[in-house]
């Protein structure tokens, strides 16, 4: 029969009278857990930021028309040459359009699909930006800007002007930040663009776009889909790309395959497009786990040490308790409950310390040219880190308390009383 009231009362008295050891032991837990929370929040925050930098600019599925040679050259269709060895030199790409055939019906079909969060049409055009006698090569992407802003975080990267400004303007352009700098242009100015065929169009700069990736900002600009279609002299069904965002990113690969077959187009999923990127982010996660496990283990050893000392100091008490009728289990429970109280107190305090440190880091300014939307260091406030941290505080104090308290349970009171 276990009398919890008596056991907890003894544990409490021990803890309160040895305030210094109690506080030291709890602080050991606190620092371990606090450091774990801070580090994990900070590192995963950074990881997520880097991930989103790439991932948010990549659609889950990208549909376009690849310019490539026919898989079967015409000669293969001739029955007379069936058994012959046919060699075709200087194979040319198949004559086809850049636009997606039946683009608008495909778009409508996708928008009705339940797995699809959204699909946007794009028209990518090769153009030249004219600045006096200088011609800068680049892209102009015609988009449905409001839909684009809903599906991706393009809105975050418009550093001057807004997506709505572009929507409202017939011949507006969101100029890439690198281009704007090169040509000394700013919002409200006009820029002339020329198509490959040589037609020149004046466009009004309604905003500046800065993705943080210099290679993009130096060549790419955005305009309304209709504007680009007009510049190219194409009809309203002329689109070259469809970007799809799914509800579940994990379905991207299989869906990309089936779409490619169904519509005879090239469809690539985000996983194919960013394979090496995923490896990098996996390794970063691995490092995060390794560091946090190390931290937690170090904290665990600290707890073990202090509890061990606490129990050695109390040897005489153990003998008295046993002599007056407390069983080994009672004695073990007395020390285990001390360990668990230390673990719980230190753990809770550790969560608070971790949260406060995270908040501090979250408020430290972090300004970089490459990331226009980031103003402070990123922190990932994931409730799970707090749950894991607190569970570990309890588990490690349990283990750290178990070993010495088990010794206390077994110890022979006669040996202590005799002083041998």
């Amino acid at each position: 029969m276990i009398n919890w009231k008596v056991i907890l009362n003894i544990a409490r008295t021990h803890l309160l009278t040895k305030m210094k050891s109690t506080v030291t032991a709890s602080l050991g837990v606190t620092f371990g857990i606090g450091a774990y929370i801070t580090l994990v929040s900070f590192m995963t925050g950074l990881n997520e930021m880097l991930d989103s930098l790439i991932l948010n600019q990549t659609p889950h599925i990208h549909i376009y028309n690849e310019i490539e040679p026919s898989e079967k050259q015409p000669i293969a269709l001739y029955q007379e040459f069936e058994d012959a060895l046919n060699v075709v030199r200087s194979v040319k790409p198949k004559q086809s359009q850049k636009k997606i055939h039946n683009g608008l019906p495909i778009l409508n079909y996708l928008k009705k699909d339940k797995k699809v969060y959204g699909a946007t049409p794009q028209l990518r055009a090769q153009i030249f930006y004219l600045s006096g006698s200088i011609e800068l090569g680049g892209n102009l992407v015609g988009v449905d800007i409001l839909e684009e802003a809903r599906l991706s975080n393009i809105g975050d990267y418009i550093v001057e002007g807004t997506a709505q400004d572009l929507k409202n303007s017939e011949n507006g352009i969101l100029l890439g930040a690198g281009l704007a700098k090169k040509m000394s242009l700013k919002e409200g100015d006009r820029v002339q663009v020329s198509t490959i065929k040589g037609d020149v169009f004046p466009l009004k700069i309604v905003g500046i776009y800065q993705s943080g990736i210099a290679d993009i900002d130096n060549i790419q600009s955005y305009a309304n889909l209709k504007t680009v279609q007009r510049i190219l002299g194409e009809a309203q069904n002329y689109i070259t790309d469809i970007n799809i965002k799914l509800y579940d990113i994990n379905e991207a690969t299989t869906m990309a395959k089936s779409l490619g077959k169904q519509f005879q187009v090239k469809a690539t999923s985000i996983n194919e497009a960013n394979a090496q990127f995923e490896t990098g982010s996996n390794i970063r996660n691995l490092i995060t786990y390794a560091v946090s496990i190390t931290l937690l283990i170090v904290a665990g050893f600290g707890i073990y040490n202090i509890l061990n000392m606490l129990i050695y100091e109390k040897m005489k008490d153990i003998a008295i308790l046993k002599a007056t009728g407390f069983s080994g289990i009672d004695v073990q429970l007395i020390f285990m409950s001390q360990a668990m109280i230390i673990g719980a107190l230190g753990g809770i305090l550790g969560l608070v310390v971790g949260f406060v440190l995270s908040r501090l880091i979250d408020n430290v300014a972090f300004v970089t040219e490459a990331l226009p939307t980031i103003t402070t260091y990123p922190i990932n406030y994931n409730i799970w880190y707090y749950v894991i941290g607190f569970s570990f505080a309890l588990i490690s104090t349990f283990v750290a308390g178990w070993l010495p308290s088990n010794k206390a349970r077994r110890i022979d009171p006669v040996r202590i009383i005799r002083g041998t």
Partner: protein, 224 residues
């Protein structure tokens, strides 16, 4: 007359540092209400015997009976319970829990037994302290009182569960003559007024002579 405590052929060996036969065929009994003392030189095995009798040491051969019930071979939990219910123990070095108050020290074994309400236990503990004339110390920390007082507190603690027998391992060994006398008269009074059985290991001739019976030990045997 009935025995409260009885041993049959108890033998014990120490194995370290060399094998040594400490107790040789110990058979004797303590009657109900008897005040017995064990005397003997250092190393004669008297403390070792007492630890076996108190059930704390289980590494022996032979049989030990308490209230005619065989104790030998019981598991540790059962033995703790037996100690808690039936045996009061007083050590040479007072051995109080220094962080607790005097009253809490006395109450602890009764709280462990958990057969009475807290109020009853506290009342009993105050009763025992009053009997030993130290009730004014009840709320002092155990580490703040004098040696003689500590020993009286330890006696009060040993008595709190109204044990069948009270054992002492040189309870006066560390006290001056005045306090020794005090402790002896307490024991005497307990025997006469409460009919308590007592078994005290002692070095003190004067103390032993005034008990009902002296058990002399030499080289692990009882001399008659």
């Amino acid at each position: 007359m009935e025995f409260v405590l009885e041993t049959k052929n108890i033998n014990k060996y120490f194995e370290k540092p060399v094998e040594f036969h400490v107790l040789k065929d110990i058979s004797f009994g303590i009657k109900k209400g008897e005040f017995a003392s064990i005397m003997g030189k250092s190393g004669s095995g008297k403390s070792t015997l007492l630890y076996i009798l108190s059930t704390m040491d289980t590494d022996y051969t032979g049989e030990l009976y308490l209230n005619n019930e065989l104790i030998t071979g019981q598991n540790h939990n059962k033995l703790s319970q037996i100690r808690n219910y039936n045996i009061g123990f007083v050590f040479q070095f007072h051995y109080l829990l220094s962080e607790f108050s005097v009253l809490e020290n006395v109450m602890l074994p009764a709280k462990k037994m958990a057969e009475k309400s807290l109020a009853e236990i506290e009342h009993d503990a105050m009763e025992k302290l009053r009997m030993l004339d130290i009730e004014k110390l009840a709320h002092q920390r155990a580490s703040r009182i004098s040696g003689g007082e500590k020993q009286r507190v330890a006696i009060a603690r040993a008595l709190i569960n109204n044990p069948a027998i009270l054992m002492g391992d040189e309870p006066t060994g560390n006290l001056d003559s005045h306090n020794s006398e005090n402790v002896f008269s307490i024991f005497k009074r307990l025997k006469e007024e409460e009919g308590l059985s007592l078994l005290i290991v002692t070095h003190d001739d004067d103390f032993a002579k005034r008990t009902d019976r002296i058990i002399q030990m030499e080289d692990g045997r009882i001399l008659d």
